[in-house]
Symmetry: C2
């Protein structure tokens, strides 16, 4: 008789954003006349930039003719996209990353959940707390996290690194030595960042203890301050300890287009074995590449017109971030984030729990946000709002919250 | 110090089609004047049908305007596609499958390699021999296959079900009881099929012993004979024992577009736990949906124009199959397949091994095929040719082989 992977049964409740969607749907059904404003999930609202639309149409036409038709993509992704990434995201920032160290994928969610597969099951992970739930949940499914303590809402075999107002939302080096360290900067959910000097400490630490940093830079395009690193490879020594995950979802609005990439430098090794070769094997065996038309759309992101248009799009969302940040601050909320990231992190008022504030906001202001506790125990008492709405809705949502 | 998943190191050599690509590239570099004809990998060559191109352009336009822009897709896929699948692929064939039992994905390769994740590591798999390498390799990576015997080219914990000329390429029920049974009909690589009565025996067997059948029906569109089942759900009792994998790669030429789906009936359970809920959890946590524009392209496959155009496309490839089958037969080869599948399976001549024949064909006829032994030990002495080339090349390849 077949048996299931019972690690799945250890997962408490459903995936955070599925739970929120269900709650919102129930409210909408019960209150069909209310206009809900969604500042919860990090989904974009602005249409694709004209340069991308044009390239998509061209690529669709390529698929209409035998001479320009494209079947299976190369394992690592098309050269035209990988070299555009290597040049623009790395060489231009002084980072030494080759096009053949870049693996094109259908997004950072898949990559950040699949990357753990190439590591041993008894490796110990360290995560920031609060944290993007996918890092932990994918390790739970693999059986790497031990037992769950429902009261503390923590796993016995996970090292939690609290990020709270006390440490300015930047984690300390952990006391217990981890094997895999998940870092995300600019941070989801807190909207915080760290400086290049701070990140260099992590790189030095990882090289010293023999840990791998899985560095999620999905929000890199939102960095506005000069001393914040755009890539972990700006730090010396990162080629021997860091994997970087990138996404086109937030810088180019590709949440529904699906494109991302993972960088694994060939110097990152366990003994003689390059992690690059393991991930290449996984790509070859378990994946069939991002669609040709989508990879062409990715190429357009790096064209001069694409860059100009996307700079405006990011500015549009960052203006929303400013509206939220300043609006809530003026209303007496304690807020952070929103300067180098599209997320605003706020302290819930009057000692409310995160979910109490979620319900309060949904019912009284018809605004959807994300409860901080959904990202981990240290997120309790916090709440995340995103800048990805449209401007008019964002202004209205802030007015409604101020009026509470 | 971090450690790798050393199951990866157990994998002998690289993924079959990567090896072939490297050999062909080396030959091309050494012989730049030779015109290679590729009948190896199952990649299509005909452009997308006009109905699909039109729909792709429309969907790209949707993404250009805020009112019709689409961000993150629903976890299971868009309702418009899932209901088109449920109606056309299942209800119209008398199969009881709901739209909410269909999980849209980016292709059958991903699904067939990921599906093993929801099962326990000590489940025993049974595979046909020869077999599509992904089924076995994904289980090797997970650590489910025991040790490799390089001489026999088999894994200690895998049940092999030989499919050779002696049993008309249809496996017998295994003597040892498996937990997971991988079946693929019409078959890749042999091009064979089984009747509905034969498939019913497998369903009855799986229900009796408590096994799950993972049924890969990626080549369903190529069935030309009446008694061959298009879906395992045509068999009674399949809802309690079968998962079906489908692809748009071969029926609609989507190898570079990337779309597929998996069906998990809600009646398929281990104790109280529905496999549907586990796969839904995996989709929600580790995947972010197929692109909106690609799901719209999938919808066009089921439109009246789409159906008519794709029927012609399949007929085009099946004409190639006939050219290969009859050409090789007239030249004295022993051939099978090619009637309900786009693959022709031939016995290598003069006692050559599969790889000897691969080299022979590449060097002497400049034709690329796939060595049968790459699909498993019982594939030794066989060779696969695909009908997915264009007509002119296919005719020329057959002439070259006949001239050897």
């Amino acid at each position: 008789m077949f048996k299931i992977n019972d690690n799945y049964l250890k997962l408490p409740g459903s995936y955070l954003f599925s739970t929120i969607a269900k709650k919102v749907n129930a409210f909408t059904e019960a209150n069909p006349d209310k206009k809900i404003i969604r500042l919860g999930i990090g989904d974009v609202t602005q249409p694709l930039a004209p340069a991308i639309i044009g390239k998509l149409h061209d690529a669709v036409e390529d698929m209409a003719h035998a001479e320009t038709f494209h079947g299976y993509a190369p394992d690592l992704g098309y050269e035209f996209l990988r070299s555009a990434i290597a040049r623009n995201d790395y060489a231009d920032r002084g980072c030494d990353i080759g096009a053949d160290e870049i693996f094109v994928s259908d997004g950072a969610k898949c990559d950040s959940s699949n990357i753990q597969e190439i590591f041993a099951l008894d490796n110990k992970i360290a995560v920031c707390d609060p944290v993007y739930p996918v890092y932990v949940d994918s390790n739970v499914m693999a059986g790497r996290t031990g037992t769950y303590d429902p009261k503390a809402e923590t796993w016995s075999d996970v090292i939690y690194m609290p990020c709270t107002a006390e440490n300015d939302f930047a984690p300390q080096l952990p006391e217990e030595t981890p094997d895999l360290i998940y870092l995300c900067y600019p941070n989801n959910p807190t909207g915080s960042t760290i400086t290049k000097a701070q990140l260099q400490e992590w790189v030095d630490y990882a090289n010293k203890v023999g840990a791998v940093i899985i560095y999620d830079a999905a929000y890199e395009a939102y960095i506005s301050e000069p001393d914040v690193p755009h890539s972990i490879y700006e730090c010396e020594g990162a080629r021997t300890c860091a994997i970087e995950l990138r996404s086109f979802s937030k810088n180019a609005g590709f949440t529904g287009v699906r494109l991302g990439f993972t960088v694994i430098p060939k110097d990152l090794k366990c003994g003689d074995v390059a992690l690059h070769s393991l991930w290449a094997r996984r790509h070859g065996t378990k994946y069939n590449g991002a669609p040709y038309i989508v990879q062409r759309a990715g190429e357009a992101v790096y064209s001069p017109e694409g860059k100009a248009q996307l700079k405006e799009q990011v500015a549009y969302y960052m203006n929303n971030a400013k509206v939220i940040y300043e609006g809530l601050k003026s209303a007496g909320y304690t807020v952070s984030g929103g300067v180098n990231a599209p997320y605003i992190w706020l302290k819930t008022p009057d000692g409310m729990t995160s979910w109490e504030f979620f319900d309060h906001l949904l019912e009284k202001a018809n605004v959807v946000g994300t409860p901080g506790s959904g990202f981990g125990p240290s997120g309790e008492g916090y709440f995340r709002l995103t800048a990805f709405g449209n401007y008019e809705n964002t202004v209205e949502a802030v007015e409604r919250i101020k009026a509470l």
